[in-house]
């Protein structure tokens, strides 16, 4: 039972990262793809009708995590207190940037201010999310009751009294930043025309080299910080398909980008994100929050809720998700096609 819910949470998290990832990514490359006011308005319009739905995946994932693994929710959210509250503030700023920009469409001071807020919040969010994942991989100083608290930074090392930020988690943040930037640029290439389309493709072309570089670097760093992550791979060799898929998705992205097949390149960066996350999750299982002292680690077994709750939710959850996917199909179909510069809503 806990295995099913572990996979459901992982699935929802991957959906969140791929979906909100492209609109956060669009924010990261906002200024590179949109060079003037009208073009930046077009960037916002590509994500305008969908970003809110994408962000709902975060809330829905949080909700499932809450009832399925209450102890994990309690421990992780209170331990990552400061960065999580800052993420909330960034989400507020970013939403304001997207939605308030077009309220005074012809006031340049207004639109340029919100462009800046939107882009800055997107950049910081990508780094925070990456650093959060880095913390989970590195492990946190859980006590015997399963709680911890980390300040934002301490001595920047990965042992002893760790902080949220150290060299490893910052590296994870950089990986997330580059990966989402490329993912967002792929999305914008798919949704825009002419010069914006070419610029977005160019961002992908250049960003690809950075992405390959930081991906390799981060994998090496993971093996140094948490060598046990590979245990599951040795135990279940089919898992090696995941790193292979990471490599394949990178190669495919380069190929499709060079060919100008934006949609396929976007799918490739989506697969890349899914496989990177999937690889980490596969290596960590059954841990959900490793402790620096392994005896205190949180696992799917010691954080799960009661049997009845988990089985009854298996009845309503699939219904809800199938209906939600229905809305999504309808929404994306209604707003399909490219966004034109200078068009009104």
């Amino acid at each position: 039972m806990e295995l099913i819910w572990f996979m459901i949470v992982a699935f929802m998290l991957v959906c969140y990262v791929i979906l909100d990832g492209f609109d956060i990514g669009a924010g990261i490359v906002h200024y590179f793809v949109g060079r003037n006011d009208a073009e930046r308005a077009a960037v916002i319009r590509t994500i305008g009708p969908v970003w809110d739905g994408n962000e709902v995946w975060l809330l829905a994932t949080g909700g499932v995590l809450y009832f399925a693994f209450p102890m994990l929710y309690a421990s992780a959210f209170s331990g990552f207190y400061l960065p999580l509250i800052m993420v909330l503030w960034l989400l507020i700023m970013r939403a304001a940037g997207i939605e308030l920009r077009h309220q005074l469409e012809h006031n340049h001071m207004w639109t340029s201010f919100w462009d800046f807020v939107f882009s800055l919040a997107s950049i910081l969010l990508a780094i925070f999310f990456g650093a959060a994942l880095g913390n989970v991989i590195r492990g946190v100083p859980l006590n015997s009751e399963g709680y911890f608290f980390e300040p934002l930074f301490t001595h920047w090392g990965t042992t002893g009294e760790t902080g949220i930020l150290d060299w490893f988690t910052v590296l994870s943040g950089v990986v997330a930043f580059v990966a989402l930037a490329v993912h967002g640029a792929n999305y914008l290439a798919m949704k825009t025309e002419d010069e914006m389309n070419l610029r977005a493709r160019k961002v992908v072309g250049v960003g690809w080299y950075a992405l390959v570089g930081v991906t390799v670097l981060s994998l090496l760093a993971v093996m140094y910080v948490r060598p046990t992550l590979l245990d599951n791979y040795y135990a279940l060799p089919i898992g090696w398909l995941i790193p292979l898929a990471v490599a394949a998705s990178l190669a495919a992205m380069k190929y499709f980008n060079a060919k100008g097949q934006d949609r396929n390149a976007f799918i490739s960066s989506g697969v890349y994100l899914a496989m990177m996350l999937g690889g980490a999750v596969f290596g960590l299982f059954p841990l959900v929050l490793p402790a620096l002292d392994p005896a205190n680690s949180l696992t799917v077994y010691n954080t799960r809720a009661g049997d009845y709750g988990l089985s009854v939710a298996l009845l309503w959850w699939p219904i809800g998700i199938i209906i939600a996917l229905g809305y999504y199909t309808f929404l994306f179909r209604t707003f399909k096609g490219k966004v034109k510069v200078g068009e009104e809503h």
């Binding site: 809110d52 102890m71 929710y73 959210f77 809720a305 009854v312 959850w317 929404l331």
Partner: protein, 450 residues
Amino acid sequence: MESLTLDRLQFAFTVTYHYLFPQLTMGLAPLIVIFKSLAIWKKDEMWNEAARFWGKIFGITFLFGVVTGIPMEFQFGTNWAVFSKYAGGVIGQTLAMEGTFAFFLESSFIGLFLFGEKRLGQALHWLSAFLIFVGTWLSGWFIIATNAWMQHPVGYEVAADGSVHLTSFWSLVLNEWAVYQYMHNMGGALVTGSFAVAALGAFYILSKQQVEFGKMFVKAGVIAGCLASIWMLFPSGDWQGKMVAKHQPVTLAAMEGLFDTTEGAPLVLIGQPDMEKKRLDNAIHIPAALSFITYQRWDARVKGLNEFPEDQHPDNIPLLYYSFHIMVGLGTIFIAIMVIAAIWLWRGWLFESNWLLWILMLLFPFPFIANTVGWMTAELGRQPWLVYGLFRTEEGASHMVSSGNVMFTLLGFFGMYTVLSLLYIFLMLRRIEHGAEELTAAAAAVGGEN
């Protein structure tokens, strides 16, 4: 200040601020559906324009509701970790259902409603308005069900590790307390929405900016506002009160400022609780009325605070008492004004009665106050428990998060929400001003076609 106080302050502040927005969107959503229906049914472009106009106000308010709502779900984990570990297996269900069944629905169709009218056509545009209404009201249900479980826990068992496990899904989702609380709460949202529509209509008439639409708004707002105001007292307020009397008698005593058990207890209209001398000063009351409305007998015995051990008393009785009395006082005034306005509307006097239009215009902030103090009554009344009778508030906070860190984020929220308030007020004033021009243009276009 110690962490617990700061944790409570932060939750109270962020949830109070948050709920200013959803009460308006949940109140406006059914009215927009009505406007849209009238437009299609009567083939009247004026009502369509009214739906678009309120749709834009809905859109901005919805955004503020979303961004201030995300911190609520997060804070269960960040600030109330011990409570989350204890009760997450139960209340996480309803919160997850809100995300899955309500948020996906709302977030998909808000974009379609605001930006997709041309692509969708009228029938599908109506449908998206309707589904937004369903989504916002479903969301309300799941939150009420969550709160209702904390007010009146059902369908659970205490597991070996001391946490609660769900044992009955339907008891949680269809909690008796949730049914009455929902009816009372959604009526409150309708009061906020309809009073806002009436107030803006009155403003447009009085300022002579847009009289035609002003009259439509006042008419719609007064009819809906009159029904909703009466609903708040009877039957929904009455039902809610009986639930409190049955399941939280100590809360009832505190709300009423009843210190001693009394047969034929009076209903207090005004007065100041004196916690040192354990009595109500300067009380003006209706004799025996509390006994009657609670138990339908004039001489029924109502338990006072003295019947209950002090460690079960709500920890802020005066604030609870005032919250409740402000809610009831405002509710009574709402009914009086709206009934008069409805009669004046029916007799055809309303649009010439500037004094009444002034009152309707100035009335719009008060439903926000009434809803806020209503929720304060529910939440202060639940104290000292987080889960009534099971789990005390003081046990629930995250003990690893130091008070300095909580103060940091609390001050951050103060700053963030001050900026949000300024933005919201600015955007609303602008929308009201530009809205009048757009409505004038629309009225001219409709007139030109005829």
